[in-house]
């Protein structure tokens, strides 16, 4: 069980969180009404699914109920940072990690 630091509540067990998904993919302003099917579907379904350092969001469902962001290495599970919704990911020295295969 991961230990994820909620930027509001402090370090909390993974079981307090729900709904992990990719972060920083804003919904198109127009709701996609001015987009082609392909562009729209890109937002709805397409995901980076990075092998390496990934930006994801979790809902602190059993805590403050806020959505938070998390920078995590998807191979080692090392969490490099967590930060609030709406904030930009912090600059972290070796956060560019990506595994080739």
């Amino acid at each position: 069980m991961l230990l994820i630091e909620c930027p509001h509540c402090g370090p909390r067990a993974e079981t307090e969180y729900a709904g992990c998904s990719e972060a920083h993919i804003a919904r198109p302003e127009s709701g996609g009404l001015d987009m082609t099917d392909a562009e729209w579907v890109e937002w709805v379904f397409w995901r980076k699914n990075t092998k390496g350092v990934y930006l994801e969001r979790w809902n602190h469902a059993a805590g403050c109920r806020r959505w938070i962001n998390c920078m995590r290495d998807t191979v080692t599970n090392e969490i490099l940072a967590t930060y609030k919704a709406g904030e930009k990911p912090p600059k972290i020295a070796d956060a560019e990690r990506e595994y080739k295969f």
Binding site: M1, L3, R27, L33, D37, V44, D73, T76, N77, A85
Partner: protein, 1006 residues
């Protein structure tokens, strides 16, 4: 037979406390402090079981968790436990153990015929045969399965209970040997919160098996006792014995399995059998020791053949003799410690067979000086004795060690201790993602530094420090280092406990000891004793192209038994490396996985079993329903009253009665479970516009409106009625099962997408209890219980709500209907739910008020063609498919799901659409889930055009009614469809629209 292999004195057993136990029906004696294995050895029981595949006779081969042979069936009846390692089970009065894999007895086991076929019964055997005739595999398999497995699973409900707890500490120390104790002491001295766990009943680790060691100038075990006492006295230290750290998950989350009653003859009331501590540690110190590696020689599996260190443990710790005259077979100096201790105990050592050409080492020198016969550059090349070792054959080795000279000496003996060096217990380090380095000199994998995900430090012999002095020093150092890393502020003090440093001597790594004949031609070199895999099997696998160590593992099953290859894996991969002519680290290890030792399911499950597996949520009126004899239906976690049968009624009769009662007079339903969300803020209406398909801005205060909610994929996700409380204030309802997901969904948009909207959401699902009364007499009934609400159609029309007082309780009364009849939903603060219900029942008696459950509600709503999300939708249905275009605003701009509805295939007229279905025979009720076809064929496959999502007997229509999702259904009104049933019948039916009753909707308008 009474403990004739027990030494006169010595050992950490309590000779004043004799213990009686039984093995294979024989009553035997041992002492308190024995393990089952040591007691068997003391009684001269050498044959304890049969091997997995060949049913070879087997004896106890170790004294620890690495035991591969002595897997016994413990206890009886509901208390029986399969595959218990005799070496880890503490002896207690009344213990009952039996051999697992033998029939009829361990001495005469018919399974031994397998041995006769062992020549063809090699690795890969199953893959190559049993393929003909093609249908016969299940027949063969039946017998194969019977022969496989080891112990027997219990057949009765486990009467014991298990406990589990979360746990936290700064520094977790795994292992209470010298390294671990030293680490715990030094970490504890910093003030850090320390937990020390050890899987044995007492601390000391391998010190218990040794003799003559001193720490800080004291006898080692005295030092251990003092250390333990010191730790016990400290508030910041938790000490757990009989506790195995079995799993190391990410973020330093370690599972610890503590056994509380297994060793007790009488299990105290209230004490769980096992307790699992799920430990979140800031830092972990792994001090798990090392496991001796056996040498791989021909016929190395006979009862009486053990690890050298096990012989020593039995003598020193348990005062039990592994035999009367033994041979020690080694490639290193540590086995001479065994030799010396055994001699001291009066056991005859016939010879030490040492593969080294010119052995060096202080212990060897001592043994030499004591006159022990040492055969250098020699090896055991064969053994004999079917049920118990009788003799070994020894020959001199060739220069390269690959063959043995033909001159063979036979040495009679009744036990053999073998030592091929030591494997650090790196399991936890590796589970934590740690890498290994290969120590060429010792032929051992040792931990590389840990990673950042799981900070830990290995110390002592699991780090490859095989000397006591080093173990103590490393432990001390690590204790402070870990405390510091855990953020403890302290001043360095104290110094490491000391012991005499001893030279380890030299080694000769001889991974595969040659036999008299080429490998595989006579006798067997077992690698994995438990799974009966041999060196010849490994080489066969390699020959056949299974080159990766992972392939070798799986093809030969090496390391896949209950001991997970604790004594097998390193030997196996070294032999693979040697065969392939590759370096050992290139071949690498297989993956270390939890658990370190097998752990009871019940302990891992903890308390989340039986009724506690999952919450059963109940409404404030639940007790009333129970008393009224309701049957309940599980909806999500909720218990909802399903129907209220009266004596003699089945569900059908009860529902018919309930339905009729509602339509004729008045019925009452507990509607508390619907989700409720308070929506507040100046942008509330705009927010609703964006999350529902229809428009909300113009909804008047005091009015209610039905809404459909879609996912971004355009599919129906939820529905419900939302009421306007004030200009900036709404109350939303959701379906019972979706309350939490919908709230999460809405919060997501507010917090991350539309942060500019001023809206706050609060869940009030549980704040309100709701009773829904429906039927022609609903108004009359309600009017009796309220004097401050004008119930007239003008004042409170359909789809309006008002605050007021009902039965003296402040309430919100909603004139909404899921039944199509005049209906009021009365919501009161939940504490008053029961009171409201009772008041309605009392006042309603003159109208014959009838409580009804969800089944009746379903019938009533189906009569009106109202959908249930999750029943008439399945995540692949759009509002258009539901023929609910009317609710999808064309004028509004964006709302969730809108864009997806415009995708190419979404407007395909042939999508599945919701229609009504009438069976041609009105008495026939289609089963829900029935499939519909246009053309019936003799036999499948048949093209299905749709499926029945809702289907009921409708008392009001006096016929069956159904709804279905049918391809292009809306254009097919009046068309015939057929539903072929499992029993071969075909139900004929016709497509119609979905409203079956009161099409004009007069009833709900009251």
């Amino acid at each position: 037979m009474s403990q004739k292999f027990r030494l006169e004195s010595g050992g950490l057993i309590n000779r004043d406390k004799p213990v009686t136990f039984s093995f294979n029906g024989h009553e035997l004696k041992g002492y308190d402090g024995d393990t089952l294995a040591s007691a068997l050895i003391a009684n001269g029981v050498h044959l304890v079981g049969r091997s997995f595949k060949y049913h070879r006779p087997r004896g106890i081969m170790s004294a620890g968790p690495e035991e591969a042979n002595a897997l016994l069936q413990l206890g009886e009846g509901a208390y029986t436990e399969p595959n218990a390692r005799a070496t880890m089970e503490e002896l207690f009065d009344g213990l009952v153990a039996t051999t697992s894999n033998a029939f009829p007895t361990v001495k005469y086991d018919i399974g031994e015929v397998n041995s006769l076929f062992s020549k063809i019964f090699v690795s890969g055997f199953y893959y190559k045969t049993f393929m003909w005739p093609s249908k016969a595999w299940k027949f063969y398999e039946h017998f194969i399965r019977k022969a496989a497995g080891i112990g027997k699973a219990p057949e009765e409900h486990d009467p014991d209970f298990y406990d589990k707890t979360n746990a936290f500490c700064d520094v977790l120390v795994v292992g209470g040997g010298p390294a671990g104790l030293s680490a715990a002491l030094s970490a504890a001295a910093t003030g850090a919160h320390v937990t020390l766990v050890d899987d044995q009943p007492r601390f000391g680790g391998s010190l218990m098996a040794q003799s003559g060691q001193e720490i800080d100038g004291k006898p080692a075990l005295e030092w251990v006792d003092e250390a333990e006492a010191k730790l016990h006295d400290l508030d910041n230290v938790q000490v757990l014995r009989r506790a195995t750290a079995f799993a190391y998950y990410d973020h330093n989350y370690v599972g610890i399995w503590e056994r509380l009653t297994d060793h007790l003859p009488v299990k105290p009331e209230g004490l769980p059998r096992h307790r699992v501590h799920m430990m979140r540690a800031k830092q972990v110190i792994i001090a798990s020791g090392a496991i001796e590696r056996p040498l791989v020689f021909c016929d190395n599996d006979r009862p009486g053949i053990m690890l050298a260190s096990a012989c020593r443990t039995y003598v020193n710790r348990f005062g039990a003799k592994p035999g009367n005259k033994g041979v020690i077979f080694t490639n290193n100096d540590s086995a001479y410690a065994t030799v010396l201790d055994l001699i001291d105990a009066g056991i005859e050592i016939k010879a030490v067979v040492d593969v080294r050409k010119d052995p060096l080492g202080p212990l060897m020198e001592k043994a030499d000086a004591a006159g022990v016969k040492i055969l250098t550059n020699s090896a055991v090349v064969g053994t004999s004795g079917r049920l118990h070792l009788k003799s070994v054959e020894v020959a001199e080795l060739s220069d390269d060690g690959e063959t043995a000279k033909s001159d063979v000496t036979e040495i009679a003996c009744d036990f053999l201790g073998s030592s091929g060096g030591w494997n650090p217990t790196v399991h936890l380090h590796c589970q934590a993602g740690g890498k290994l380095d290969f120590d060429e000199e010792r032929g051992a994998f040792v931990p590389a530094p840990s990673n950042r995900t799981n900070p830990n430090i290995s110390v002592g012999s699991c780090k490859g420090a095989f000397g006591l002095a080093d173990c103590l020093a490393q432990g001390f150092e690590a204790g402070q280092e870990a405390a510091k890393a855990a953020g403890i502020k302290f001043r360095k003090s104290g110094k490491a406990p000391t012991a005499e440093a001893v030279d380890e001597g030299n080694r000769r790594l001889l991974w595969l000891v040659p036999g008299k004949k080429p490998l595989g031609q006579s006798g067997k070199h077992f690698i994995d004793l438990q799974n009966d895999s041999t060196a010849a099997d490994l080489q066969l696998a390699l020959r056949e192209g299974y080159r990766s160590i992972e392939h070798v593992k799986r093809y030969t099953t090496t390391g896949m038994a209950t001991d997970q290859g604790k004594t097998a894996n390193v030997n196996a991969l070294a032999i693979v490396a040697q065969t392939l002519n590759e370096a050992i680290p290139t071949v690498g290890t297989t993956t270390y996985r939890p658990p370190y030792v097998p752990v009871t399911f019940g302990a891992i499950a903890g308390r989340d079993i039986d009724d506690l597996l999952d919450p059963a949520r109940t409404t404030p009126m639940h007790s009333w329903h129970v008393n009224a004899g309701a049957e309940f239906e599980d909806v999500g976690q909720w218990k909802r009253a399903w129907y209220f049968p009266q004596p003699g009624e089945d569900m059908h009769a009860a529902v018919n009665r309930e339905v009729a009662a509602m339509r004729n007079s008045v019925g009452i339903l507990d509607a508390t479970t619907l989700g409720k969300i308070d929506v507040k803020g100046k942008d509330a209406a705009e927010f609703l516009n964006r999350v529902y398909t229809n428009a909300w801005t113009k909804l008047g205060i005091g009015k209610c409106r039905y809404g459909l909610m879609l996912g971004e994929d355009g599919m129906v996700m939820d529905d419900g009625v939302t009421s306007r409380i004030a200009e900036d204030h709404f109350l939303m309802t959701t379906t019972t099962g979706n309350a939490a997901p919908v709230l999460g969904h809405l919060e997501d948009y507010l917090q991350t997408e539309w942060t500019d909207l001023e809206v706050y959401l609060t869940s009030v699902t549980e704040q309100w209890a709701t009773a829904s009364i429906a039927g022609p007499n609903a108004r009359a009934l309600l009017s009796e219980l309220t004097d401050d609400i004008d119930l007239s159609n003008e004042a409170l029309p359909f789809m309006a709500w008002t605050p007021g007082t009902v039965a003296g309780i402040p309430a919100r009364v909603f004139r909404i209907s899921f039944t199509g009849d005049l209906s009021y939903e009365i919501a009161v603060p939940a504490d008053y739910g029961l009171a409201l219900w009772q008041a309605l029942m009392t006042a309603g008696s003159k109208y014959d008020i009838t409580p009804y459950g969800t089944e009746t509600m379903h019938v009533l709503r189906a009569e009106k063609g109202f959908i249930i999300v999750g029943q008439d939708t399945d995540g692949s249905i759009t509002p258009v498919d539901l023929n609910m275009n009317w609710i999808v605003s064309k004028k509004k701009g964006d709302f969730i799901g809108k864009r997806s509805l415009d995708r190419e295939d979404m407007s395909d007229p042939n999508r599945k659409q919701l229609v009504g279905i009438l069976t041609d025979d009105p008495k026939e009720v289609l089963p829900e889930g029935a499939q519909l076809v246009e053309v019936v064929k003799d036999k499948p496959p048949m093209d299905m055009v749709g499926w029945v999502s809702s289907s009921y007997w409708s008392p009001n229509c006096d016929r069956s009614i159904a709804m279905a999702l049918v391809h292009g259904g809306l254009k097919k009104m009046g068309q015939k469809l057929y539903s072929p049933q499992a029993d071969g019948r075909v139900i004929e039916c016709t497509i119609t629209d979905t409203v079956f009753y009161d099409k004009e909707g007069n009833r709900q308008n009251g």
